[in-house]
């Protein structure tokens, strides 16, 4: 078998033991890697209803066949576990040297079980695994932890670590790497923290098994150059992802004031032009030639690496329109190891609840200094307020009550990313049907929707497009694994990926083969939800209710007086379910399961809820 090492490293933190396990072609071809490997492993090995923050949950680091190969943007790693934020399957990806190093150490997946009794650093070097004390950096942020690791092991090792957010079980804490990279929005940092696992350090020296390494080396080098040239020609890296901020503001899709508003006259102060002008450095992931991380000096003079999502959620969504102050909030999130999108959503929801008189407090929109203190409380779980903020908007709304659930901007517990969908039904469907909760990484349909369809329409074409994008973004890129940016931002053709995959594995797959794997993964994620939540219903695939509230419609601008229609959204959801072969609840039918080779999983799922034929 080429393309996979065929080896899994299983580590037990409770017993301080490890062992290697092998897998064969059937598993490799059916689940491919990354999200596919992680999901199938968690499905097979987790007890239903397991405490996500208990020792029986498993923390997984999963790689795919092209991960770590020198080719466009293959430096990504998937981290996964049952999510403490949503209760379903949770994962995320991040650029890290772990990708290459773990594969060179000889593994396609790391499964971490149990929990350590004291803060631990897991050190992996080829066949060697060590459980080392990390008390010295327990309580420290990710930057100091990273420095401490680099001082001991050099800068070439792969590092995953957590900050105080993960240690204190903040439910939207992330896993961090390379000082500027984060992944695992649905609380993957908290899962590491619950296991007292402060960091994972990986070093490898073996070749990654490939069917035709010479061809791949030549092809990868040429394509890296081409992507770089495409980037230079297009000028994309001048603003990277932040070019979208000004556009969202123009078309009334910007998150402002906990998404109560879609535009703001001060948005220009934090847009891509201002970011480019304030740039002090540019960063990227390994094997990337179109770097997206634009660093600015924050208000305290520290380097803070910004992109659209964190400016949107920590900036406009909080009505903080000073770029250096947004930089400070982002820096704190990165250092504490908190997800910037969810953190912005949580603080926005808190300010909104105060504004509406549903909870007492003195935090207001626009209060950047206040936001810094709230991030500290949330990361440390300090006091009642810290605990409230650390649990995310879904749980906050349950505690606050008074109808606040309607404006708690989340789906399935995961906070909505930085697109305000008051009149973007397709993007609302994308958020609603995202299997890990509201995340733009699954299907970013908003530009298609606003440019190539009638914006205020709910036709089957939009459902079809969401599924197409989910197959690419939530599917292909999450399991082979690679970054989607060359494709989504520069127009790098998808056909390149089967070529890489086939050159590495010696197989002869087409894009259709990949779509089937993606559909299999999405269907199993739905079975995972059914198993964890037998009373699952289609409302779990609804976006926040405030997007359907006529009282929340914009008073002026491009979408004045308009808002999403719940009855029509239900129709759009029906289209989506029908195209996927799922029933009216959004659960795969037996027929669909059979077509996707999920008969065994379907039988297991039937123990928790009825499946339709």
């Amino acid at each position: 078998m080429f393309g996979w090492t065929g080896t899994i490293l299983r580590v037990d933190l409770t017993e301080r033991t490890f062992r290697k396990e092998t897998f064969g072609e059937e598993f490799a071809h059916k689940w491919v890697g990354g999200r596919g490997f992680a999901l199938k492993t968690l499905w097979d090995e987790l007890e239903p209803g397991v405490d996500p923050l208990g020792p029986k949950n498993k923390f997984i680091v999963a790689l795919g066949p092209i991960a770590g190969i020198p080719a466009p943007n293959t430096g990504k790693t998937v981290v996964a576990a049952k999510s403490p934020l949503t209760g379903g399957y949770g994962d995320g990806n991040l650029g890290t040297q772990v990708t290459e190093q773990l594969r060179k150490a000889g593994y396609d997946m790391l499964i971490v079980e149990g929990a350590a009794s004291e803060p631990t650093l897991l050190y992996i070097e080829d066949d060697k695994v060590e459980f080392l004390p990390a008390a010295e950096v327990w309580g420290k942020g990710t930057y100091a932890t990273n420095d401490w690791i680099y001082a001991r092991y050099g800068r070439k090792v792969g590092v995953l670590n957590i900050g105080q957010g993960g240690e204190n079980l903040n439910l939207y804490s992330t896993v961090r790497s390379l000082e500027g990279r984060s992944g695992g929005r649905p609380g993957m940092g908290a899962v590491m923290g619950s296991k007292k696992l402060k960091a994972i350090v990986v070093k490898g020296s073996k070749p990654i098994p490939q069917a035709d390494p010479k061809t791949m080396k030549k092809l990868g080098a040429a394509d890296l150059r081409t992507v770089h040239e495409m980037d230079k020609k297009s000028g994309w890296s001048k603003q990277s992802t932040t070019g979208i901020l000004a556009w969202c503001n123009e078309v009334a899709a910007l998150p402002v004031r906990n998404m109560r508003k879609t535009r703001h006259s001060d948005a220009w102060k934090i847009d891509g032009e201002r970011l480019d002008a304030a740039r002090v450095a540019t960063y990227g992931c390994p094997t990337c030639t179109m770097h997206c991380g634009i660093a600015v000096h924050d208000r305290e003079g520290r380097e803070s690496e910004l992109d659209y999502e964190n400016i949107g959620m920590l900036g406009s969504n909080l009505e903080v329109f000073e770029l250096d102050q947004v930089g400070s909030l982002n820096y704190l999130c990165d250092d504490y190891g908190l997800d910037t999108i969810s953190a912005g959503g949580v603080l926005g929801f808190y300010a909104d609840a105060i504004d509406r008189g549903h909870i007492a407090g003195d935090f207001r929109f626009g209060d950047g200094e206040g936001a810094k203190e709230l991030l500290r409380l949330a990361a440390l779980r300090e006091g009642d307020l810290g605990n409230l903020l650390a649990d995310g908007t879904m749980r906050m709304a349950r505690k606050i009550g008074r109808g606040s659930e309607a404006y708690a901007m989340h789906v399935k517990g995961l906070e909505v990313s930085a697109y305000n969908c008051k009149l973007c039904p397709g993007m609302a469907l994308s958020f609603g049907t995202s299997p890990i909760g509201a995340h733009h990484k699954e299907a970013w349909v908003i530009t298609f929707e606003l440019n190539q369809t009638v914006r205020d329409s709910y036709g089957r074409d939009k459902a079809q497009k969401v599924i197409e994008l989910q197959r690419i973004r939530g599917g292909l890129f999450e399991y082979i694994i690679a970054c989607r940016f060359p494709w989504v931002e520069l127009g790098w053709q998808l056909e390149h990926y089967p070529i890489y995959f086939n050159t590495i594995t010696g197989l002869n797959w087409t894009l259709d083969d990949f779509w089937k794997v993606g559909d299999r993964i999405y269907s199993l994620m739905k079975f995972f939800w059914l198993r964890e939540m037998p009373d699952w219903n289609r409302k779990m695939d609804y976006p926040p209710m405030v997007w359907f509230d006529p009282a929340n419609a914009d008073a002026d601008g491009p979408i004045a007086g308009k808002i999403l229609d719940l009855e029509k959204y239900d129709g759009l959801l029906d289209h989506y379910y029908d195209l996927r072969g799922w029933d009216k609840r959004g659960i795969p039918t037996r027929k669909t399961a059979a077509a996707l080779d999920l008969e065994d999983e379907a039988r297991q799922a039937e123990a928790f809820g009825r499946l339709e034929d």
Binding site: A246, W247, T447, R455, I467
Partner: protein, 81 residues
């Protein structure tokens, strides 16, 4: 007639301006505007007029705000299998 044109992302650098008011002949279309601001028509883009996507050849009116953005939507759509 006066039309405000706002450039997004990399088009700011391609055209040399971020936002500018143009004095245009009545009846000027969005396609003609693209020639005036010197953006290659072959470049994938999204053009919005007063916050709404335009149809090809749409006529502009006095006071319009036109936003021109490089497309951010991927290399190729996947067909259903």
């Amino acid at each position: 007639m006066k039309v405000t044109v706002k450039m997004i992302g990399s088009f700011v650098y391609a055209t040399g301006f971020s936002e500018r008011i143009f004095d245009l002949a009545p009846g000027t279309t969005t396609d003609e505007l693209l020639e005036i601001v010197e953006i290659e028509k072959s470049r994938p883009m999204i053009v919005a007029r007063n916050g709404q996507a335009v149809v090809q050849g749409e006529k502009l009116e006095d006071g319009d705000r036109v936003v021109i953005a490089p497309i951010f939507s991927g290399g190729q759509a996947a067909g259903p299998h």
